[in-house]
């Protein structure tokens, strides 16, 4: 990869790190929220559904600004976090949070669909065999929704890689700190002679996106075949 300059390489590495963490950390809440929306009937279910989907519909700048208001060092959540030594605003961790929030709806949608496809009668059967609720989930539901979880995670990863608006609003565009791949492309396009660098990063973006999509297809079919036992 010596055709990438150090600054470009830095942006790619940062983007991969941010997206990986964003995906990994949003998986557990993503599965939980998807399960709640698919299976439970509770007051406020539609509100939760709306909240989850909000980042998909809102202008990303708005989401980024809301994150800044909430998680900024003066914000209601950011303040206490800062006292604990965790600062999100203008750090790569904040970029991961922004990417995670933006990717969350896609992940939840994919997982929720796969949960709705699981026959609840299989879960009942597991219960009559002595499995408590968490066991049923771990040994029956989770294995059966694994293809959906993988697809959801890879979609979320791809979305996180491309996240721009909320990230630049929340954590700005600091090279080596918060300058992700899209921010770097944007920055290179703003300076004279930066087009070559921008183009190289565009190629990298396309490569990563295509790889993610292909990988998700291959993995999902392979897991689905194993799960259905065909």
């Amino acid at each position: 990869m010596d055709w990438l300059g150090p600054e470009e390489w830095q942006a790619v590495a940062l983007s991969l790190r941010v997206s990986l963490w964003a995906t990994l950390l949003s998986l557990p809440p993503g599965i939980f929220v998807a399960y709640a929306l698919a299976r439970w009937r509770f007051p406020g279910r539609q509100v939760l559904n709306g909240l989850v989907h909000l980042p998909l519909i809102l202008p990303p700048v708005v989401t980024g600004y809301l994150l800044l208001l909430t998680f900024g060092t003066q914000g209601p959540v950011g303040g206490p976090l800062r006292d604990l030594g965790i600062v999100l605003a203008f750090r790569w961790t904040g970029a991961a949070l922004a990417a995670g929030v933006m990717a969350f709806p896609l992940m939840v949608r994919a997982i929720r669909l796969s949960i709705e496809a699981v026959d609840p009668r299989l879960e009942q059967a597991a219960a009559t065999l002595g499995a408590s609720g968490p066991w049923v989930f771990a040994t029956v539901t989770l294995p059966l929704i694994l293809p959906g979880v993988v697809v959801g995670a890879i979609l979320a990863f791809a979305k996180a890689m491309g996240e721009f608006g909320a990230t630049i609003t929340f954590v700005s565009n600091i090279p080596g700190q918060t300058q992700t791949l899209p921010s770097a492309i944007y920055a290179f396009l703003q300076v004279p002679g930066g087009e070559a660098s921008a183009l190289r990063l565009v190629v990298v973006s396309i490569a990563i996106a295509m790889t993610a999509l292909l990988l998700s297809e291959v993995l999902a079919t392979r897991i689905a075949r194993r799960v259905r036992g065909a």
Binding site: Q124, T128, G130, A131, S132, R226, G229
Partner: protein, 368 residues
């Protein structure tokens, strides 16, 4: 080992209100589709919470609405064999079989994998996936999976209903082995009289959410009052018989109280005790001893009861020793023969009377 059930539950079509006790052995919950059978079984398993009532297995209370006690399904120790098997598609047959085993704790000593696999004949299937199994194989695995969870009670909700006749014939012997080889009480839901006649020790007849009748299998199936609920084809008596000999002309001789019965050779050895079902519509009655008649199976008895139906038919109960045979004849014949309680008569079982699948241990067609 026993089960006691008393339930009240409001269903869209009717109110369920049942109470019955299931002694050891196979208790058949019998009734038409939509009579509430599955609701009762689901309530026993804990998959449905009834409005009110009480369920206890071996004195252990699983549900008691007055004491606000309700055990969740996973703590009930009840094995459930579903109509559609419900095997886990992501696990192998072995994984399915052992699924409940790990939750069984100390109780699992009594239900070893090898023994259950041997009893159900599923050893060659262990490495396969449910998707590669036939319907009959799936049900055998489902039965094994339930057994290996070391249950105190086994529920079977029409486990054969989704199978064709050949697959049913394949599984029934395993169910008989299960009944005779373990001391786990079984609550068996079915609307097929042939299955019930073959398996049940006790029968509970459900109709529109009520218990119409409960009692020992032979008594309930031989009750003329239940003929409408059992259906014209369903009504019939069960006789206990013993295999006397296998003859050279291909017939097996059975002794029953009051006489001998002949049917095409069956698998059971001489001396074996079996059950024979005789459908009411296959029995003719004669006042005098029939002479020069092709039917081999004639038993002498006394009319105990004549019950006229709504139509032209009547159900006649003939006592033969301590057992009874049901005969469905026309009211006109009853009048012509002067059939009334106390009148001696002969019951002639037509050649088809002893049907395959109705014989205790599996046999072939009957011929005259």
């Amino acid at each position: 080992m026993s089960l006691s059930v008393a339930l009240r539950h409001r269903l869209p079509a009717f109110d369920l209100d049942v109470a019955f006790d299931a002694p050891p052995g196979v208790t058949a919950l019998f009734g038409r589709s939509g009579s509430g059978k599955t609701t009762v079984v689901n309530a026993v398993a804990g998959l449905l919470r009834p409005d009110a009532g009480h369920v206890a297995v071996n004195g252990r209370t699983l549900f008691d609405s007055s004491a606000r006690r309700w055990l969740p399904p996973h703590r009930r120790r009840i094995g459930y064999v579903f109509q559609e098997g419900r095997l886990f598609p992501h696990l192998t047959v072995r994984g399915n079989l052992l699924y409940g085993h790990r939750f069984a704790g100390d109780r699992r000593a009594g239900a070893g994998l090898d023994r259950v696999v041997g009893m159900l004949g599923i050893a060659p299937l262990l490495a396969r996936r449910p998707a590669d199994l036939s319907g009959g194989e799936k049900q055998r695995v489902a039965i094994g999976r339930a057994l290996l969870s070391a249950p105190e009670l086994l529920l079977m909700d029409e486990p054969l209903a989704a199978l064709d006749e050949a697959r049913k014939a394949e599984i029934l012997p395993y169910l008989e082995r299960l009944r005779d080889g373990t001391d786990i009480p079984i609550l068996y839901v079915s609307h097929a009289v042939a299955e019930i006649a073959r398996l049940a020790t006790t029968i509970v007849v459900l109709d529109d959410g009520r218990v119409l009748r409960q009692g020992p299998a032979a008594e309930v199936l031989g009750d003329p009052a239940l003929a409408p609920a059992l259906g014209v084809r369903g009504a019939g008596a069960i006789l206990s018989a013993r295999v006397v000999a296998h003859h050279n002309d291909g017939l097996t001789e059975l002794s029953v109280e009051g006489g001998r019965l002949f049917l095409p050779r069956i698998g059971s050895p001489a001396g074996a005790a079996i059950r024979v079902r005789i459908a009411a519509q296959d029995v003719m009655l004669s006042r005098g001893r029939p002479d020069a008649i092709s039917a081999l199976n004639i038993l002498e008895g006394t009319v105990r009861e004549v019950r006229a139906g709504d139509g032209p038919g009547a159900m006649v109960v003939v006592a033969i020793g301590s057992q009874t045979v049901l005969a469905r004849v026309t009211r006109r014949s009853c009048a012509a023969l002067g059939l009334a309680p106390g009148i001696p008569c002969h019951a002639i079982m037509k050649s088809v009377a002893v049907a395959p699948g109705d014989i205790g241990t599996g046999a072939r067609d009957a011929a005259g």
